[in-house]
Symmetry: D2
Subunit: 337 residues, 4 copies
């Protein structure tokens, strides 16, 4: 922690600040400049609330020196984390495609779409059985029945499964059917749920909250890592800004920044980021060009009658075309789809 | 729903749009203008995903006509909701003060502070026993022991209790000790928890999410009302913006807007909105002047050693001074503290 | 400037960083902690681009120590700036009311409204003769004729005038008619215009840009102060956020923060901040309670036919009622209207 | 315009609303639904202030039907605008590269860098002679001398010139030296300057304001088009959000949206969007993949001593490598660099 003192701080105030720092367990280094005095408070306290010092008389500014996350940071682990599900790798040179409908709507629907997913070369099938909806009057998912259909459809096509968990009491049930837990954007700071997911060993993909800073996103990963589960995937899915012509603002610059600060893989979700089918292909291409380790994309073969998010689903044929474009883009940066 | 057609929409496209609307169960009214044709799609479907129409060829824009919330709206219930706990009223002419420390830290601490609360004339004691923290390494609350201390301190001083619930499995436990459930900002869209709180009968105060629109906030209230619990209080606590000199931006204009759109009472929390003690009094005064039905304010008698959020806690003496100022402000708009 | 080194920075990198700092003219103080080394770079260079150091190998974070503004800061001038126009004071204990229509529309209109302004006890008449409009097809103001009407109406009622200047070539003309220059939100970072206004001696009121940080706002004031004009007033008028139920988010917490960091007076404009008449009175009351040194409020006696911003104008009768409420609120914090 | 009435609007209120609409010059179409009545107000008034209706008693919501821009919209002009400078095209299938230093610092510097630009295959040389700086104490540009150096360096290498204009009085001077006027983000709503640029015939590139919506950006283009200059280029350069790990949030989804709504070409500026050299290549690649019609990129051969924005400048060698990557990405979507 670095403390900048006010240029007119009195000796008494400075002594008071120092004695507080000592009481909080810090060692102090002092630098006197022409106009400002700086105190360096040394000691490893990543979660120290710097406002405790900011409110002391004579203090102008306080800066944290250590990032609040540890296990998540590249300082702690230099090499990229590559998550393995059997032989399959997430976070390696080959991009991961997570594809499927927003919701599992029927046995028939998910089996049909799983076939498309397999045909495209994607290895992971997505589909929601428990749906977080902003309205209590909207379709809330098929529940366990949906999980069974999803698993069956994946198995028949030799795919892995990713599906969303919304609350602690669903973890055991969902764990029976899924390969990867998905944590939704609105639950990114559901700390109780994060802790419990840290106690499982299956990979967890954390979607970035609508207004979560990159730092808060990494802190949510820290909850899971610190509880003992090292298999965390991050997923950028758009943030909330003032712009209204788009549903969200897809923050692609988060991708190189997370790669710089953390060793965890980053997936991008252009379907939720844009909310409209026409914008999915250009943003999918852009995400690959920006360095994403994979994409989550929604598809549907009857989007007009989809029970949720039909308007953002690609038709199977359009998805297959997109995959070909993505292969060329990946090649341009020496990666593969 | 109102659909604006593109000025160059073909007859075929228009027919296709109309047949979709009919299939979705709407009646159609058509208005042809000089440059634009407008379709009014009539039928009560508050949660219809308007993007389903937006993606059809020939459509320029789509607007929803009905707000997505019903029970929460002033259209549905004209009179202000006044919530009663025994004889005590929340949402009436007299402002409600919810006061206490951020966290219950010890039996002694909460008993000392409850005395200050009672002395100030506040009737509701706040204090967290389960704490949502962005870091897994921070103090997480005393749990049930904290609830016991809180209830005891309140009873000794004839106060009511408000405390936070973070997950479904805590509801039964907390219900034994509290008079009002508090739902935190980061859980505002924890829909599973909202539904369960709708099944209780104790009042629930919903804090506005950091990036929640007013509409989403009212939709979270709708979850609770639609499950059968009519006793919902809203709490504005600051939103996230680009400004960094403040912790959050206190959105006081939300207060008259919510009063216009909904019958539910609105409380303001200047402690979390500002995050720094010095800013709490001016913002508390402003909230009352803007028409808040009450305030939630954090106090502490040893803020430097508080286990959470000490820097935003008022000292007891400062709080008592503030209450006097608030009385004058309330009087200026014909209300009482 | 404070530089936090990466924990695995090599000796060579550290030497390179130090030699850069020395070349840039800084003295260096080094603090070695358990995990991190901190370099304090001492030397008064308020506008040094800290990214120059951030991009060097081995650097983890860089923090500025000195605020980039000097003359604007309370460090530089401890006492509140009180601006005098003749005997009249802006920034003193008595609140300033700047009242009038959005645009000067006709001689008759501004004379009628100036009478209302005088009757209310306001001393400053507002009215735009040159109007910044987001559409090239909207009313652009009466120009010099409008200035003449405005001055005449003010003189007849013993009022001062504030009116907007949009470009350098208008300064000489407007200076003949106005007592205070108003700089609009969209011109807050029109640096060429700021410099020229710094060469006048009449007071300048700077409206905060829609997405301007408080720091940038103070830097715009610095442009004028550093050019030799000490008479700067700041005006908060709402910032742009994700919320769509309001036109802007009125950032009232900026008021105590600016008072803390700067000696300049702060006016609040609830008319532009909210954009709708019904929200003006509660937000005007809140601004006074938050400590604003005055208010700018739009009124109109025929708002339905106003040529600009009619929907946010208060009717004269409502404005007179509001002034009475504001007097009570001001009294509650020992100020006067 | 579409007006949704309150479900409890009285007959008297409805009549009053209708008579206002008629007075404002609209024709009315009425649709009665089960719960809501909708009024369609027909008539071409793109800049009608819809708040005039919103404030009438009995009105629930008001929606605009026509976009406020006309000449800028794809409705008005279906084909892409291709801007020609001699034989050179901006907005065609081949991507445009605008490359050079942030500021012209000396004759030697700009001649050296122009050579790199030409070598890379870029055809447009960028460089600022008048610099908008947030601090009055920072380097403000070389002025006319800088323009001369810039033109000379371009001519020697057969390049075109783009440079920034900050105020009306600079237009004549800059027009002598430049091929394209650049309008900076902070001047995007400097309406006086926009109008004057509309009176020139040289192309104008409008940078998107930090918090400008896409609609406002297109309205600024409308100012220039409506004054008679059809040669407008748009430039996305990052918007302001809550995220602090990046300088701005690069809004790449704006690119397909602008292409959908307007016929004007869109350039992307990853240097200003990210503010740090390391992030420029991934974001440049992403912009091309998203469909940008070109890139503006800053380079410098001695960034540590650059007088402005050195930290975001690519070194010549890195820029040449990037161009090769961009060629592969462009090819993947059937375009060329």
């Amino acid at each position: 922690m670095v403390i900048i003192l006010k240029h007119n701080a009195t000796d008494e105030q400075v002594e008071n600040i120092k004695s507080h720092l000592i009481n909080y367990g810090f060692q102090i280094h002092e630098s006197k400049g022409e106009q400002k005095t700086i105190l360096g408070a040394i000691g490893v306290k990543p979660n120290f609330d710097t406002r405790k010092v900011k409110i002391l008389e004579g203090v102008a500014e306080v800066y944290r020196v250590t990032a609040p996350y540890k296990l998540t940071s590249r300082d702690f682990k230099t090499d990229n984390t590559i998550i393995k599900i059997g032989d399959y790798e997430i976070g390696g040179n080959k991009l991961v495609m997570m594809t499927g409908p927003c919701s599992v709507e029927s046995e028939d629907q998910i089996y049909r779409l799983a076939k498309v997913v397999a045909e495209s070369g994607s290895k992971i099938l997505r589909g929601g059985a428990f749906k977080p909806r902003s309205s209590p009057y909207s379709f809330q998912g098929l529940g366990e029945e949906g999980l069974k259909f999803l698993r069956g459809a994946a198995d028949e096509n030799e795919l892995f499964v990713i599906t969303e968990v919304m609350q602690i009491s669903q973890i055991d049930l969902i764990e029976k059917y899924t390969d990867i837990f998905q944590l939704g954007a609105r639950n990114m700071q559901n700390f109780a749920l994060l802790k419990e997911l840290g106690n499982t060993q299956k990979p967890v993909m954390i979607k970035r909250g609508l207004s979560a800073t990159i730092e808060e996103w990494l802190m949510s990963a820290e909850y899971i890592l610190s509880a003992g589960n090292p298999n965390v995937i991050l997923c950028e899915r758009g943030i909330r800004t003032f712009e209204t012509y788009t549903r969200n603002t897809f923050d692609l610059s988060a991708i190189p920044i997370v790669h710089n600060r953390s060793h965890l893989p980053v997936i991008a979700d252009p379907s939720h980021a844009t909310g409209l089918r026409d914008q999915v292909p250009p943003m999918a291409r852009a995400a690959v060009a920006a360095g994403a380790d994979g994409l989550m994309i929604e598809i549907h073969d009857d989007p007009e009658n989809a029970l949720s998010d039909g308007p953002q689903a690609l038709l199977p044929a359009n998805f297959l075309t997109l995959v070909e474009e993505l292969k060329s883009i990946a090649k341009a940066i020496n990666r593969e789809v």
